[in-house]
């Protein structure tokens, strides 16, 4: 059963349509990430699921019940806010118990659930503190605890880690994912950080301008991006996207006309190549000139130039190369993505030119 399903959901701010006919479902017990650049409508979508915004069109169903016009409390969901939204005058215990106090849960049950949850998120020793006396990571845990203690089967998270430093963010990523698996809750998680999406999600919805660009498992998005936008958004560094020109021999990367890659169909393409799929060779391949090199420890990102297009190449270890050196770039054809330059969409049925095949 789908825990959450959206059908043709639309949201307008005045005259501007920010969400256009959005439809997707979230499987029960799965971790779904809404990913996209700022202003793509991912937070608005989450807030519509939460009931903090009312959809202008379409239906939202939670656990097979139409909740489109129901108030937030009736939807059986919890939410973790980007700013944590802790009540500054209440201590940790009172913050966590806020919802149970509203619902007048019996005292013994409250204490028992509080003990459980506090232990789970590691706050047992801090229950008497005020939020101002906590670090960012601890506040985040209070917000998580407040979401968990309600025992709702669905938890919505709006960029919960964006206020933390890099190291803590990484720890919390693992912790949130472990908690989600342990409790078996359905999570919808909004982020603009593709690394977060890749490492946590069962499924990612990549959004752009209020519309879905691609839905899939993290591997799908990484290996077979559906659009140029998906290719450029996912991966650090992202996929190289190279313009092509038509030659008599076939379609080639602009600046490497001697190496036709595809059978010419008169259309312009964009060739997508992941940096780690390209290797350097002294003898054969597409000629390029080396520019900057960026040493990252485990590997080095080299910038090579084909005429005026930059190509990033990932090489293991600390590559000792000279700027201005002439090299040849090689890759396996199966790792090459081809996009239609006009629509930006992935092309599956391209034909390799004789030279490339």
């Amino acid at each position: 059963m789908a825990a959450i399903s959206l059908q043709n959901v639309t949201k307008k701010w005045g005259e501007v349509t920010v969400i256009k006919n959005l439809s997707f479902t979230v499987e029960e017990g799965s971790f779904l990430v809404l990913l996209g650049p700022s202003g793509c409508g991912k937070s608005t979508t989450l807030r519509m699921i939460a009931g903090l915004e009312i959809a202008d069109g379409g239906t939202i169903r939670i656990m097979d019940r139409d909740v489109t016009h129901e108030p937030p409390a009736q939807r059986g969901i919890s939410m973790v806010f980007q700013s944590y939204a802790l009540f500054p005058h209440l201590n940790v215990e009172e913050n966590i118990l806020f919802g149970l106090n509203v619902r007048k849960v019996a005292r013994e049950e409250k204490q028992q659930r509080l003990g459980e949850v506090a232990k789970m998120v590691g706050l047992s020793a801090l229950l008497a503190r005020k939020p101002a006396q906590l670090s960012g990571g601890q506040r985040q845990r209070v917000a998580l605890a407040r979401a968990i203690i309600s025992r709702n089967s669905i938890c919505l998270m709006d960029e919960p880690l964006s206020n933390l430093d890099a190291k803590l963010r990484h720890e919390m990523r693992i912790e949130i994912r472990a908690l989600q698996k342990r409790l078996g809750v359905t999570v919808v998680y909004v982020t603009h950080d593709q690394a977060e999406a890749m490492s946590m999600a069962d499924r990612v919805i990549l959004m752009r301008d209020g519309d879905i660009d691609q839905i899939g498992a993290p591997d799908d998005l990484y290996e077979t991006p559906a659009t140029v936008f998906a290719a450029s958004f996912i991966g650090t560094p992202p996929m190289n996207l190279l313009k092509t020109v038509s030659t008599t021999e076939g379609t080639a990367i602009a600046g490497a006309e001697d190496h036709p890659l595809l059978v010419d169909t008169g259309k312009d393409f964009i060739i997508g190549l992941r940096p780690e799929h390209i290797s350097l060779s002294a003898s054969r391949g597409v000629p390029a000139i080396l520019g900057a090199s960026d040493y990252l420890g485990a590997d080095t990102i080299l910038t090579a130039r084909i005429q005026n297009q930059d190509v990033l190449v990932r090489v293991a270890g600390h590559a000792k190369v000279r700027t201005g050196e002439q090299v040849q770039l090689n890759w396996e054809n199966e790792n090459m993505c081809v996009f239609d330059a006009a629509s930006g969409r992935r092309v599956e049925d391209f034909r390799l030119s004789r030279a490339a095949a």
């Binding site: 409390a73 919802g99 509203v102």
Partner: protein, 294 residues
């Protein structure tokens, strides 16, 4: 160059403080001390010059039935105006902070009494309270009530002034509450809504506690105003009938400028100042413990 450098930093400090210090000393500290000094001297006349009389004026004050009357009036006035105007201010602020049509107009309407000078306000309310032709009596007549001299009856006159003062002050306090409400992060309310907290529950458990610093500020202002605001008495009642509507400051004015008894007025002023100081300190000590400052 050398001369400039030889001025030590603490001299600079004093120089920078001087303008503020002059104003403060000339208009606050010196008058206070001068008042204190005057209150222990007798009233000077052409024949008998003013002489040191110690606490004689204060002894006089204890026997002065008018003083006790106006002090009691002032207490009633405070009890009548302070909680009501604060409660009304919060209510109005919460209301105009929400989504409602013509919000700016409503806010302005609530704030208008504050902009009006007290003298103008008193004149407006004079029309309401006038017997026979006043608004109150005209409405009362529709429901068959007899005409009543609101400002002429010692039983109603003080409450007439209380109602008018609340009307004037609540809008002013509302502005502070409105600003405080708008500085509360909207996520707090959203988090409350997600947990199913009713508007009243959210207000009682979250918004009101977070408004406590504003409440302290407003309540101190309200207390001071309850002693300070006497303009309306000049227009409406002149303290009458039989001092039924006279307040401490108005009595001080009368003593000083109608009866020309400056030392006794100084004595009354000292009592007023001490009362205000004690109340303000009390409010800080009492409320500080229950206030969450962000």
């Amino acid at each position: 160059m050398r001369r400039v450098r030889s001025i030590t930093p603490h001299v600079y400090g004093w120089l920078l403080l001087t303008p503020a210090a002059i104003l403060l000393i000339a208009f606050t500290h010196y008058p206070t001390v001068a008042t204190l000094v005057q209150s222990v001297f007798s009233k000077g006349t052409a024949i008998r010059p003013s002489a040191f009389v110690g606490l004689n004026n204060y002894r006089l004050l204890l026997e002065d039935t008018v003083f006790w009357k106006v002090l009691w009036n002032n207490v009633l006035f405070g009890i009548g105006t302070i909680p009501t105007s604060i409660a009304l201010a919060i209510l109005m602020a919460v209301w105009v902070n929400g989504k409602l049509p013509a919000r700016a107009l409503t806010r302005l309407a609530f704030f208008t009494p504050t902009i009006l000078p007290m003298v103008a306000v008193a004149n407006i309310w004079l029309f309401f309270y006038t017997p026979e032709i006043g608004l109150l009596d005209q409405i009362g007549r529709v429901f068959g009530f007899a005409s009543h001299n609101w400002l002429g009856d010692p039983d109603t006159v003080l409450w007439c002034i209380v109602v008018m003062t609340v009307w004037k002050e609540a809008g002013f306090f509302m502005i502070f509450y409105l600003a405080a409400l708008q500085s509360l992060p909207p996520e707090l309310e959203e988090a409350g809504r997600l947990e199913g907290a009713s508007r009243w529950y959210y207000f009682r458990r979250v918004a009101f506690p977070l408004l406590m610093p504003t409440t302290l500020f407003v309540s101190i202002n309200a207390v001071i105003n309850s002693f300070k605001l006497v303009d309306q008495l000049f227009i409406l009642t002149k303290g009458g009938p039989d001092n039924a509507s006279s307040l401490l400051l108005y009595y001080i004015y009368e003593v000083a400028f109608s009866f020309l008894d400056v030392p006794y007025a100084a004595t009354l002023t000292m009592v007023l100042l001490s009362a205000l100081a004690i109340i303000a300190v009390g409010q800080f000590v009492f409320m500080d413990k229950r206030i969450h400052y962000r």
